[in-house]
Amino acid sequence: MKKEQGIKVENLVKHFGEGETRVDVIEGASFTVNKGELLALIAPSGAGKTTLLMMIGCVTEPNSGTIWLGEEKVYENGWLVKDTRSIRREKIGFIFQAPYLIPFLNVIENITLLPQSSGVSEKDTKAKAMELLTYLDIAEKAKMSGSKLSGGQNQRVAIARALANDPQIILADEPTAALDTKRSISVVQMLKKIAVEQGVAIIMVTHDETVLPYCDGIMEIVDKKVVMKDSAEDIRII
C-alpha cells in the first residue's frame, strides 16, 4: 500500500545573522515523514533540533528550501501561505517539553480552545475533547485544573490538546523530558498509537535513548545535516 506523505522537507537551510556573525544551523535538510509514522529527532543540545521543528511548524522562517505539509507546499524560498498561524491551527499539533497548559483554563477548556477559535461549535469541541480524554484514559479529569494533575496526566492533556484540531502532523519537542522512564515509554507508545490509528505524521525531538526503539525511524542532526538512522542501536545521544 502506498504511504501518504505527512511531512516532506527538501534542502532546507537556516542560518542566523549575516557576515562575521553568521551562524549556520541547518544545511540542506531533506527527509520525508509519512502519515502513521513516528520519527525521533536526536542531536546534542544546541544542534538545531528545535529550530528544525519550528521551521516545519511554520513558526520560524527558513532561509531556503521547500516544505510540504501533507500535499500542500507551504514554503519554497518563502512562505506560500499568508497566515502561517492558520496553517498551525489547521494542520499541526504541538506538544512541548512541559505541558504548558493555560493555567486559567481547566483541562477540557485547554483542549477545546484551539478548535473553538477555528469556529467549531462548543458542543462539537467538547464532544471531541471528551473522546480524546477517554482515549488517553483521563476523562475523569476533564473539569480539573492542570495544577491538580500529575506531570504524566498533564502531558496527556497536552497530547489531547495537540489532537483537538485533527492535525495531519504532530511536532513534539521533548515530550518525555520531565517524565520518568516508565511514563516516558507510556507517552511514546501513546504517540505511536495515535500516529497509526489517526494517520498522523509525528516528529518527536528527544534526548531519551530508552524511547527510541518505539519509534519508526530516527533522524539525527550531524554537522548541521539531517541524517536518517536505520535503527536505535549504537546511538548514543550526547
Binding site: 528545535t50 513558526v59 520560524t60 498561524r85 493555560i102
Partner: protein, 382 residues
C-alpha cells in the same frame, strides 16, 4: 466560545479585585478633588444666592466686600431706596471672627451682619435646622452646625456675650469658612468699635467719633419692570459708588477670587488623573507580561491574535469599570469627612468614567502590543 478574560480573572479574582480597589481609591481621590472644586464654586455663590439681592452697592473703585475692603455709610441704604427702580435695601457687614470655645479652642468663621428687623433677610430660613433666625438687635448669634456650638450656648465676642439662637447647615462663606449671622448693630460694633483706650487716644489726636455706623455693602432688590443693569447704571452715574449686579458679584467671586485656587485644584486633578492612567497602563502591561508564556503558547499552537487581544482589552475595560465603581463608592464614603464643602456631581462622575474608558482602551494597547510582539518560540526550550 471560551471567554479568556473571564476565565483569567476568575482564576485570580482576589488579586484582580484588590488591584481594582487600589486604582479605585486613586480615582476616588480624583472625584474628591473635582468635588472640592465644585464645593468652592458652590460655597462662593451660596451666600450671594441666600442674600438674594439684585444689586450690590459698594465703596467706589472697589470690587466689593468679598474681593477688596469696602466701606460705606449705613444710611446710604435710605438714599438708595429713593432711587427709581429700587424696591428694598439692606446694609450688610462681612468679617472674619475667631469663635472661642469653652475649652480654649477657637473656630474661624465668616460673620454676616444684617438688620434682623429689615425687609431683606440674608439668612435663608431653609438652612435653619434648630432654633430660629435673629429677632433682636443685640447679643444673638446664629451659627453653622459644624462650628460645634449648641443652642443657647454663650459665646464671648468683643465686649459682650452672645447667645446661640439658631443652628444652620450648609452655610459657608466664599472662602469656605463656616458662616455665622449677627445683627448689623452687633457686627458693626465688633468690626468698627475700637477699645476705650483707642477712642481716648483718637480724641486726644483730634479724631472725633467712630466708624461704627459704617457697613461693607448695601444690597438692594429692584422693582418689577426694571432691570438690575438699568438701575445699576443710574446709580453708578449719580451716586459715586461701586455698583454690581448679583451676577457681577458672582463673577468676581468665581472668576477672580477662586480662579487661582481652582486652577491649583485643576492641576492636581489632572496630575492625579494622569497618574491613574499610567498606573492602569502599568497594571495591564504587567498582567500581560505575567501571561507572556501562556500567550506565546497560544500563538504557537495557532490561537489568532484577535482572541488574545480581545482578552487583554476586556480585562482592561473591566478593570477600568470596576476601578471607577469602587472609586465612586470610596469618594461617597469619605467626602463628608472633609472639613470644607465637597460637592460630588453625577455629571463629573460620568465624565471621569468616559476618561477612564478611553484611558483603559489606550492602556490595553500597551498590553496588546506586548502580546503581538511575543515570540511564539519563547514558549519552548531548545
Amino acid at each position: 466560545m471560551i471567554n479568556l478574560a473571564a476565565k483569567d480573572i476568575s482564576h485570580s479574582l482576589s488579586k484582580f479585585i484588590i488591584t481594582a480597589l487600589g486604582v479605585g481609591m486613586l480615582l476616588g481621590i480624583v472625584l474628591i478633588m473635582i468635588g472640592v472644586y465644585r464645593g468652592m464654586i458652590s460655597d462662593a455663590t451660596t451666600l450671594i444666592d441666600d442674600i438674594g439681592a439684585d444689586i450690590w452697592v459698594v465703596q467706589e473703585d472697589t470690587l466689593g466686600p468679598f474681593a477688596e475692603p469696602s466701606r460705606l455709610h449705613e444710611d446710604f441704604k435710605n438714599t438708595l431706596r429713593s432711587v427709581n427702580g429700587i424696591s428694598q435695601t439692606s446694609a450688610v457687614t462681612f468679617q472674619n471672627l475667631q469663635l472661642p470655645h469653652p475649652d480654649g479652642r477657637t473656630t474661624r468663621v465668616f460673620a454676616l451682619g444684617y438688620d434682623p428687623l429689615g425687609k431683606m433677610i440674608p439668612l435663608n430660613q431653609k438652612r435653619i435646622i434648630e432654633g430660629r433666625g435673629l429677632l433682636h438687635d443685640h447679643y444673638e448669634i446664629v451659627v453653622s452646625k459644624k462650628t460645634g456650638f449648641i443652642l443657647n450656648e454663650k459665646i464671648p465676642l468683643g465686649r459682650d456675650l452672645y447667645t446661640v439662637v439658631g443652628i444652620t447647615e450648609k452655610t459657608v462663606s466664599s472662602g469656605g469658612d463656616l458662616l455665622v449671622y449677627l445683627s448689623l448693630k452687633d457686627a458693626q460694633k465688633l468690626q468698627f468699635l475700637y477699645s476705650n483706650a483707642r477712642i481716648r487716644t483718637d480724641r486726644a489726636r483730634g479724631f472725633r467719633g467712630t466708624d461704627a455706623t459704617m457697613v461693607n455693602a448695601i444690597v438692594a432688590t429692584v422693582k418689577t419692570g426694571h432691570t438690575p443693569e438699568e438701575v445699576a447704571a443710574n446709580i453708578r452715574r449719580w451716586k459715586h459708588k461701586g455698583i454690581f449686579t448679583n451676577e457681577g458679584q458672582k463673577e468676581i467671586l468665581t472668576g477672580n477670587l477662586i480662579k487661582m485656587a481652582s486652577k491649583q485644584i485643576g492641576m492636581f486633578t489632572a496630575i492625579l488623573l494622569l497618574v491613574s492612567v499610567v498606573i492602569i497602563a502599568m497594571i495591564i502591561y504587567n498582567m500581560t507580561v505575567e501571561k507572556i508564556k501562556e500567550i506565546a503558547v497560544m500563538k504557537l499552537i495557532g490561537i489568532p491574535n484577535g482572541l488574545i487581544i480581545k482578552m487583554i482589552v476586556q480585562e482592561t475595560l473591566l478593570l477600568g469599570v470596576l476601578s471607577f465603581l469602587s472609586g465612586v463608592g470610596f469618594s461617597h464614603l469619605i467626602y463628608t469627612k472633609f472639613p470644607k464643602n465637597v460637592v460630588l456631581q453625577p455629571e463629573d462622575a460620568v465624565k471621569l468614567f468616559a476618561v477612564i474608558l478611553v484611558a483603559s482602551l489606550l492602556a490595553s494597547l500597551f498590553g496588546a502590543k506586548k502580546a503581538i510582539d511575543a515570540d511564539p518560540t519563547s514558549a519552548i526550550g531548545g
